[in-house]
């Protein structure tokens, strides 16, 4: 039935989810594509585009759920939509395997990594225990896990995120499938680890000759790995073609918009006002250190060891935007929280406008609080779900207790207008807003007390690309208007590049490099900065492959 060269062929795939009240929401509409053996297809779309529902449908994983699947999904000659449960079960892992987004939860915590891989192999091949064990060690070696025979006995929690994702890929390889589906395989990982995993996927595809379906929200992730790309929007494939064509010469307006919104390392930098001559120093950090103690007093419980900041010194000039980049565990969030004194440094000084706030008592700190504000990463977590957005924004004003209720309400309405919220929604609750709107509420609250320092901790990390761009624009606007000094903490170098005047790169609690934005991105001095920059995905497929080569040669030398 399927065309001879294609190992995976999807024809007219439709996925509907019934919702309350008998209605049906179409997640995927009339989707068709095919993948040849050894080829790589990228499926790109933002949240709600139907890309993950498509991934599940490829393995028949909607069976037993309320979702309704129509159309045909041919995997190596079997139609997954029409086949019996037993047929589909036999197909999974042996001919089509899947790697999931979150490696933390995708493996069973109670069994060893090796046993889980061996189990899959045994189920499909009827191999002996010893054979299955040997195969598991073999695939663990294939995904470059050192000392695989020993690591076979490790439990998932003993592995790092990247290692877990490797183990999951090993599991996928165990039965030598013809198609590997990777659904956002690197979204939960740091950028350097992401690059390693993408390189690995590319290598095993070349080694085994299997087809790869790579699903991501990030055009850059797909660019270097996929030969062909499908762009999905609201369940429909709006554009498809070779990677070069789709990413370099997009025809569909949606794809064009997506590409334009994406922060890139090679786009022209937005113009900045020339820095005022000899700007004064607003904040001076001197040798700041933060240790986390283990365990609580008098309790037998233990807490996980937490990364710390280890002797950081820097100066913040009034009116500048300092970007702080680093991977998870670099201490960037800890540093940010010490700047606004949500955390107390274990050692060192944080001098704000001439006052050492590092060890100031809560009561003496209170008058200074209004100058130090913060925008948080997750707007859902940073807005109390039980209070109206108007009252959330009004909070700092009410606590200051300097104005009447009418004045406060008027001020809040003005702020809401300023950040692009409808002042009429004063009495509405956070869950009634979208992610981007919620982040606007967070920004308005931070602006309410008219602060001098605004620390933004990953303010756009939980937002879609197009929303990211808008929020970044808003932050730039309010900085200019209020004359704010901004510290912008992020893991994404391309985002930081959009907004920062200077950038500090952090690793293991220390600043490894601090330079003007232009200098840092064009001529990085520290090797770690170069590694980070090399790992950042780029949307130009040719440049992406060049980067991969550079990484490989770097790894070969090391």
């Amino acid at each position: 039935m399927s065309s001879p060269s294609a190992v995976l062929e999807v024809r007219g795939l439709g996925i509907d989810f019934p919702v309350r009240g008998g209605e049906v929401v179409g997640a995927v509409k009339d989707l068709s594509f095919s993948v040849r053996a050894g080829a790589a297809l990228g499926i790109v779309g933002q949240s709600g585009s139907g890309k993950s529902a498509t991934a599940l449908a490829l393995l028949g994983l909607h069976r037993g759920t309320p979702a309704r699947v129509s159309g045909q999904v041919w995997v190596d000659g079997v139609d997954v939509v029409a086949a019996s449960d037993a047929e589909v079960r036999a197909l999974r892992a042996s001919r089509i395997a899947m790697v999931f987004q979150d490696p933390l939860t995708a493996l069973d915590p109670f069994h060893t990594i090796g046993d889980q891989i061996a189990e899959v192999y045994r189920v499909h091949t009827k191999a002996s225990r010893a054979e299955a064990r040997a195969r598991a060690i073999e695939v663990l070696e294939q995904v470059r896990i050192a000392d695989a025979a020993r690591r076979y006995r490790a439990h998932p929690h003993e592995f790092s995120g990247g290692m877990r994702q490797r183990a999951l890929i090993a599991m996928a390889l165990a039965c030598r499938p013809k198609v590997l589906v990777a659904d956002e395989p690197t979204t939960a990982l740091d950028v350097t680890v992401q690059a390693q995993i993408l390189d690995l996927l590319d290598e095993v595809r070349a080694e085994t000759g299997m087809a790869l379906v790579l699903i991501s929200h990030d055009l850059g992730v797909v660019a270097g790995t996929a030969d062909e790309v499908v762009v999905m929007h609201e369940g429909v494939a709006v554009e498809r073609g070779t990677a070069e064509k789709v990413l370099l010469d997009p025809q569909d307006p949606y794809t064009q918009g997506l590409l334009a919104a994406m922060p890139r390392l090679d786009s022209p930098l937005p113009e900045r006002d020339a820095a005022a001559s000899e700007p004064e120093t607003l904040v001076r950090i001197e040798d700041v250190t933060k240790h986390y103690r283990r365990g609580g007093a008098l309790s037998g419980r233990r807490t996980e060891p937490v990364p710390a900041v280890d002797g950081v010194s820097l100066e913040l000039r009034a009116g500048e935007t300092l970007g702080v980049v680093g991977e998870s565990g670099s201490g960037k969030t800890t540093l940010a929280r010490m700047l606004v004194r949500l955390l107390e440094p274990s050692a060192g000084r944080v001098v704000f406008a001439g006052t050492d706030i590092s060890a100031l008592g809560e009561r003496r700190l209170r008058p200074l609080r209004r100058d130090l504000q913060m925008v948080f990463q997750d707007p859902l977590s940073s807005l109390n779900p039980r209070r109206s957005v108007g009252e959330i924004i009004a909070d700092p004003l009410r606590i200051a207790g300097e104005s009447s209720d009418a004045q406060i309400r008027a001020a809040v309405r003005e702020l809401m207008t300023k950040v692009g919220l409808d002042p009429k929604s004063y009495d509405r609750f956070p869950h009634e807003f979208s992610g981007g709107m919620r982040q606007r509420v967070g920004i308005a609250r931070a602006l309410a007390p008219r602060p001098r320092l605004l620390v933004c901790d990953e303010p756009v990390a939980s937002l879609d690309v197009s929303t990211q761009a808008v929020i970044l624009e808003l932050l730039r606007d309010v900085q200019r208007e209020y004359g704010l000094t901004v510290v912008f903490v992020a893991h994404d170098l391309a985002v930081v590049r959009q907004i920062a005047d200077r950038v500090a790169v952090m690793r293991f609690g220390r600043i490894v490099e601090l330079a003007d934005s232009g200098t840092l991105f064009s001529a990085p001095q520290h090797e770690y900065t170069r590694t980070l920059l090399d790992a950042v995905p780029v949307v130009d497929p040719v440049a992406a492959r060049e980067k991969r080569e550079r990484r490989r040669s770097a790894a070969a030398i090391a």
Binding site: L61, R89, T105, F110, V123, H155, M171
Partner: protein, 329 residues
């Protein structure tokens, strides 16, 4: 591991000391007059003075408590005039009522309570986990509703009401079973079980409701976890998915809960013991309370507290042993 055990043990000892101090203080400092109680009916002032000094009740409360503690670890000598009465460690004193050593009262009551608790727990785990799993895995809505109704009824029913109904039906009306009397296991295992069958059932019916509900909730939660989806995506059969990847995670918290519940049932089945006339520690306590027999009251409550605290510590260790994610360091 050793460090964890040591810390856990020290913690348990601290809580136990606090517990015993509170218990001792409450009962001996309370408005009751221990010496008068110990002296019994027809007490003369002379005799009262002798009793007072013999039991050390003329000393400050702190000294009394310390000598009580000393007695537990090293034994205690009660001297009244020329005669000395040796009470070997662990000494919890003598009953005011019967003059028996409290330890021997406890050692005859504990096996009864333990028999009751062990059987009831085994039965309730079997019933609870079984019915919980059946409701989840069969995916029949009516079973779900039925289970919920039974669980609610279980919450809403005091154990003495169940006991009463069971007694009326099986002992009085149908006369299938005797009115329970305790027969030691070592003496006659068959009679032991036959006599305990009704008390076990009464306790299990109520306890099982909680386990059924928890099994259901835990299993549903585990079924929704990503790794279960992974197992399915890799073509494992549903039986394998449930047997190897769902049950382990779902039942782990239940095991630790059961360890604590065992102690709870053992020390709290007062009503069941009373209803079925079983001479366990609950019955002993009720009897002692009736006659304000202070040494027995203190002995029983401290013992019950010890069992409870040890069970808690054991549950923690057990949890660490069966869940690879929990490290004992």
């Amino acid at each position: 591991m050793i460090g964890y055990l040591a810390r856990r043990l020290i913690g348990a000892v601290v809580v136990l000391l606090a517990l015993s101090a509170i218990v001792y203080g409450l009962f001996y400092a309370a408005p009751s007059n221990p010496a008068l109680l110990a002296c019994g009916k027809g007490c003369t002032p002379d005799r009262l003075a002798v009793v007072k000094s013999s039991l050390g009740l003329d000393k400050p409360l702190v000294d009394q408590y310390l000598s009580f503690l000393h007695g537990i670890f090293f034994g205690h000598d009660y001297s009244s005039g020329p005669s000395v009465r040796k009470c070997p460690a662990p000494c919890l004193g003598y009953s005011f009522e019967t003059d028996q050593p409290v330890t021997s009262i406890l050692s005859s009551a504990l096996p009864v309570s333990a028999s009751l608790a062990l059987g009831a727990m085994a039965l309730s785990l079997l019933l609870g986990i079984g019915s919980g799993l059946v409701t989840v895995l069969s995916r029949r809505r009516w079973l779900d509703h039925a289970l919920n109704a039974v669980v609610l009824a279980g919450y809403a029913t005091p154990v003495f009401l169940v006991a009463l109904v069971l007694l009326i039906i099986f002992c009085s009306d149908l006369q299938w079973l005797p009115f329970p009397t305790y027969v030691p296991l070592t003496q006659n295992p068959a009679e032991w079980a036959r006599n305990l069958l009704l008390p076990w059932t009464a306790l299990a019916l109520i306890q099982a409701a909680a386990y059924a509900r928890m099994t259901r909730a835990q299993t549903l939660e585990t079924l929704g976890e990503d790794h279960v989806r992974t197992a399915r995506a890799y073509g494992l059969s549903e039986r394998r998915v449930i047997g190897r990847h769902v049950l382990r995670g779902a039942l782990t918290p239940l095991v630790t809960m059961a360890a604590i519940d065992l102690a709870q049932v053992m020390t709290s089945a007062v009503l069941t013991e009373t209803m079925f006339g079983l001479p366990g520690i609950g019955q002993t306590l009720v009897g002692a309370v009736g006659s304000t027999d202070l040494p027995v009251i203190v002995g029983v409550t401290v013992t019950a507290g010890t069992i409870y605290i040890l069970a808690n510590a054991f549950a923690d260790i057990l949890y660490a042993a069966i869940d690879p994610r929990v490290e004992l360091a």
